[in-house]
Symmetry: C2
Subunit: 425 residues, 2 copies
C-alpha cells in the first residue's frame, strides 16, 4: 500500500549487483542469520500475534477510559515515539473535551514540565502507564518516582489499580516495583528493540486507550509483513527504497530530507528519524535523517533545499486522500485575488504544491523519491510503520551495519552516571 516513484535522475536502481545483494540480505533477514538477529522479534510479530494478548490490551484500554480523564504515558525513545507518532497522526487538532487525554512524561527531564503536569492533574482522574524495556532508563524512572508519589497521595492503597507497567518479562527495577506493588503488567519482548516496538504493548496500550483500533493497526502491519516478504524486488517497495537510499548515499548524498504535506505526520517523521538514525548511524557511516513539513517549511528550509549545498536528497511522504477537507469558495469581492482557485480543495492545493515543489527542487539538483499512502488511518499507519522498519533493516544491512543495536548511546550514559557518582560507575 506504499507506492514509490523516483526522479529520472536516479536512473535504474535494481542492477544485477543490487539484486544479488538484496537477495542475500533478504535471506539473512528471514532466516535470522544477519547481524543482530537476536532482535528480529518484530519481523513476524503482526502475523503471529496471540489473540488473547490483544484482548488483554483492549480490556485494559477500556478500563483506562472508564476510570480516567488523563492517561500519563511515561517513556522515552522507542517507548515514547511509536505511540506519539500514531496518536499525533490520528488525534484531532483541537482537543475533544470528552475524550481521554493522553499526556507524556519522562520523555525529557524538565522540572518545569513535571511541576506543571502535576498541577494539571490535580482535579482530574488519572491513570499511569510507565514503559521502559530495561526498567532502569533514567528519565522515565525520575518521572515515575514523582507520579507514583502523586498517585499514592491521591489514591492511597488503590493507587496500584491505576498504574500499568510495560517492561521486560524477567528483569529490571520496574519489574521489581510492579511485582511488589501488584501493578498490572505488560511485557516488552526481549527480542524487540525500542525503535521496533510500536506494535507491542509499548505502543498498543496508549493507542488503544485513546480509542483507536489496534486490530486495524496490526492488520495493516500484517498486510505489509506479507507484501514485502518478496524476493521479486521489482514488486518489493521496501527493498527498492533501501536500494535507492544506498545508491544515493554512495553518490555523496549523505542527508535525507523527509518531506510531508500533512502536519499530522510530524511525529511519524520524528519516529522515522529515530528508526533510521539509531539503526544506521554507526561506524562513521549512515545517512543523516532530517525532516520538513510543507508547505510550512517551504518558507523556511525551502531555500536551502533548492539552492544550498548539494549533499541532500528528498523523500516525499504523500497522502492520497484527505480525511477532512475544505474547498476554496468564490468570493464576491476578489480583493485577495484567490478566485482563480475557486473550487480547488486544500488537499488538492497541497498536491499541486507537491508537484511544483518537486520539479523546482529537481531543477535545483536534488534527487527525489516519493512514497505515497492511500490515507491516514490505523490500517495504513500500521502498514507504513512496518514498511519503514523492514526497509530500515535492509538499508542498514546494505551498509554492513547491525540495524538493531545502539552502541553509541552507552558513552554519554556512562559519563552521566560517573558524574552523578552512581553506584557501580
Amino acid at each position: 500500500m506504499v507506492n514509490i516513484t523516483f526522479s529520472e535522475s536516479i536512473g535504474s536502481i535494481l542492477t544485477l549487483e543490487k539484486r544479488a545483494q538484496l537477495k542475500q540480505i533478504h535471506e539473512n533477514l528471514y532466516s535470522k542469520k544477519g547481524k543482530g538477529s537476536d532482535f528480529l522479534g518484530w519481523l513476524d510479530w503482526p502475523s503471529t500475534l496471540d489473540q488473547s494478548f490483544m484482548e488483554k490490551v483492549e480490556k485494559t484500554a477500556a478500563q483506562i477510559r472508564e476510570k480516567a480523564d488523563v492517561l500519563v504515558v511515561i517513556g522515552i525513545g522507542g517507548s515514547y515515539l511509536g505511540a506519539k507518532a500514531v496518536l499525533s497522526a490520528l488525534d484531532p487538532y483541537f482537543k475533544n473535551e470528552s475524550a481521554l487525554e493522553v499526556v507524556f512524561a519522562g520523555h525529557q527531564v524538565s522540572g518545569e514540565y513535571l511541576k506543571q503536569l502535576l498541577a494539571h492533574l490535580e482535579d482530574k482522574r488519572v491513570m499511569v502507564n510507565v514503559i521502559s524495556k530495561s526498567g532502569k532508563t533514567t528519565e522515565p524512572a525520575i518521572a515515575f518516582r514523582f507520579l507514583k508519589e502523586f498517585m499514592e497521595k491521591r489514591y492511597g492503597e488503590r493507587a496500584a489499580e491505576r498504574i500499568i507497567v510495560t517492561t521486560d518479562a524477567e528483569k529490571g527495577a520496574l519489574l521489581t516495583l510492579a511485582e511488589e506493588n501488584g501493578y498490572e503488567r505488560f511485557v516488552v519482548p526481549a527480542d524487540v528493540g525500542g525503535r521496533y516496538s510500536v506494535f507491542t504493548a509499548v505502543g498498543l496500550v496508549p493507542i488503544a486507550a485513546a480509542g483507536y483500533s489496534i486490530s486495524d493497526l496490526l492488520a495493516g502491519a500484517a498486510n505489509a509483513e506479507e507484501l514485502y516478504n518478496n524476493t521479486n524486488f521489482d514488486e518489493n517497495v521496501a527493498a527498492q527504497y533501501a536500494a535507492v537510499r544506498h545508491q544515493l548515499y554512495a553518490e555523496g548524498y549523505t542527508t535525507e530530507v523527509m518531506a510531508t504535506f500533512e502536519p499530522k505526520l510530524s511525529f511519524v517523521q520524528e519516529w522515522w528519524k529515530q528508526l533510521f538514525g539509531e539503526s544506521e548511524g554507526k561506524e562513521g557511516k549512515g545517512i543523516f535523517p532530517a525532516s520538513v513539513s510543507f508547505t510550512t517549511d517551504l518558507h523556511s528550509m525551502g531555500q536551502y533545499i533548492q539552492d544550498g549545498k548539494r549533499n541532500l536528497f528528498e523523500t516525499f511522504l504523500l497522502v492520497q486522500e484527505a480525511n477532512e477537507d475544505l474547498s476554496i469558495f468564490e468570493a464576491e469581492n476578489d480583493d485577495d485575488e484567490l478566485n482563480y482557485m475557486a473550487g480547488l480543495s486544500l488537499h488538492e492545493f497541497n498536491h499541486v504544491a507537491y508537484k511544483g515543489t518537486s520539479s523546482a527542487h529537481l531543477d535545483g539538483g536534488v534527487p527525489q523519491l516519493s512514497l505515497t499512502i492511500p490515507k491516514i488511518d490505523e490500517f495504513q499507519l500500521g502498514h507504513l510503520l512496518y514498511f519503514y522498519m523492514l526497509t530500515c533493516a535492509y538499508s542498514a544491512y546494505m551498509l554492513d551495519i547491525n540495524p538493531f543495536d545502539q552502541p553509541g548511546v552507552e558513552d554519554y550514559k556512562n559519563n552521566i552516571f560517573k558524574l552523578l557518582n552512581k553506584p557501580g560507575y
Copy 2:
C-alpha cells in the same frame, strides 16, 4: 548575555586573517554597503524604535485581551515563526484556561486543520491578526478568506473591529482589503525581511496580546545591538560564532546540529533553522541547519551524532537558570534505584547530562560549541534572537552570500502558480 565556549579541538578561531575578514564585514554591515543592504532595517531597529509605535501595539494587545478568548494569528515563514518561537518559550506547558488562547493559521494548508479550527472557534470570542509582508502569500491568503467569512457571519458589520492587518505600508492585496474594510493596520517595514521581523509588529502584536512584555523583549534586543557592535572581536560573541561556523564548514563539517536541554526552545530552534537555512543556503553553499531536543533525542538522534558520518558539528544552546524546578526526593523504598540522586534538581540533572553528552560526542569526533543564556524571559529572548540575526549576517557574508534574499523560493512558487493557471503565470 550570550556566553560562548568551543571544544579545544576547534583551536584558535580569531586568526589575523579572520579578524581582517570580520572587520571588513562589520564595516560593510554597519555602513550598509554589503550585499542586500536594502534589508538592514532590523540592525538598529531596537535602539531607534518609536515609543508611540510601542504604545499602539500595547493598546491593541489590551483590546484583544479584553474582547477575545482566542486570537487567530495568520502567517507563514517569518510572519509565523518569530511569534511562535517567543510564545512557545514563555507559555506554560498546559493551557491556562483564563488566558488568551493564541492559535495559528495559514502556516500550512490543511483543510482538516482549518475545518477543526473553525469548529473550535464556534463558541468563543475571536479576533484575527493576519500578517503578510507582501500581502499576497498564498497560504495566509487562503486561511484569511475562510476566517474573514467566519468573522463576517459571526459579527456582521462589526467584524472589521476584530481584524488586524500587518502588511506593507504601500502595496499588496492585504493592504487593499484593510483599507476597504477599515481594519486596524500595522506596517511591516520595507527594509526588514520576514525572518528578521520578530521585533516589528509582525512578532510584537501576537506576543503583546498574549500578555508578555514587549518592552523587555526590545530592551534585550537593544542590549544585544549595543553589545555586539564591537570590532574588538575577542569580546564579540556574535562575530566569534560566525567565525567558528565558517571554519568548521571549511573543514567539511557541513551540518550544524543545534542541541538544547530545554523543550520550550524547540520553536526557537525552528526559527533559527529558517534564519540560517534561508540566509545561507544559496549558490550551492551553506551549513545545513538541524536541531535536536535533549535528553529526548539522545534516545533518537544521539546514536547518529555519536557514531554516524563525521560531517556534523554540534552547537548547544544552554540555559543557566530554570524558571521552575523540582528536586529528586529520597524515597523510603529505593526499588527504582534513584536515591543516589536525591537532592539533585531536574535542571541540575540536565546540566550533568549536558556535560556527559558533550564529552561523549567530543570523543566521537564531533566539534562543539556551547552558547549559554542566563534564563528564559522576554529580555533574554530578545537578546538571543537579535544575537542570532546579527551572527547570521556575519556568517552569510563570510561565505560571500547575501543574507537577506531568498531567490530559491521563487522557483516552486512559479511552478505552483503555473499549475494552477494563476492569471499572469
